[in-house]
Symmetry: C2
Subunit: 116 residues, 2 copies
DNA sequence: CATCTCCCATAGAATGTCTATGTAATATAA
DNA sequence: TTATATTACATAGACATTCTATGGGAGATG
């Protein structure tokens, strides 16, 4: 066996935020979004296509992102997504929630009984 | 309306870790576990009973915790759970995964294009 | 011309959390 | 002593999100 691939599973609920954040770097097509997330996370987070596309469609339905067909760097048909104002607001909301939950969880992980 | 209760939803996959960690403080019954988590998180994380008990049963099935009936501080019948060796190992695994994912996500959130 | 990489998409499984509901015993307040 | 609140366990079913698996097509590469 080549490598201990422990397949880092995403915490459910965090993908939207990662996509929104990635799109603050500018309009991007789906495939490219996963590449960015992969690289930005030092190859730790690999968003599966079966997670990505449903998420993008969901987010478009909610008005957080908008799509338009175009041509990718490698000259292929690709659907480009860009953040809407609503999406920018949503990102802020999700980042705040993330920070709160993050600190709450870390507090529990470091929790020590210091009574008396 | 009294308060803006934005109901902090748990990221799916983190509850087991919180329970395991809580039980490192010693044997505890279910209801008490949620109280501990609630207080340790500064009243941010309120684990619903519909989440808690299925989680406990799941974890018992996996051999991470063991249960036995006893009497609570308030003199009621309660099922006490304690960590097994397997559970302690599992906690380490989940904490490591949490730290990795945590740092990966935070990296993305702080991601800035610094090319050139 | 074959293969690889890029790019989109969906169905269905798996998982875990939530809401809602039910039960029951003890503690507390009226 | 009766009503209410709190403690404590439990499950069913809804819901949401991610995953695996699969399919297709078009341009790049050898």
């Amino acid at each position: 066996m080549p490598k201990k691939e422990t397949k880092a599973k995403l915490f459910q609920g965090s993908l939207d935020m990662l996509i929104l954040k990635t799109l603050t770097n500018g309009s991007m097509h789906g495939y490219s979004i996963t590449r960015h997330i992969f690289e930005a996370s030092e190859e730790f987070i690999n968003v599966e296509e079966g997670s990505l596309y449903p998420a993008l469609h969901r987010m478009a339905r909610k008005g957080w992102i908008e799509s338009s067909w175009g041509t990718s760097d490698s000259n292929r048909r690709a659907k480009f997504y860009k953040l809407t104002q609503k999406g920018k607001k949503q990102l802020k909301v999700e980042q705040a929630a993330w920070l709160n939950m993050n600190s709450a969880i870390n507090q529990i992980l470091d929790f020590r009984l210091a009574k008396g």
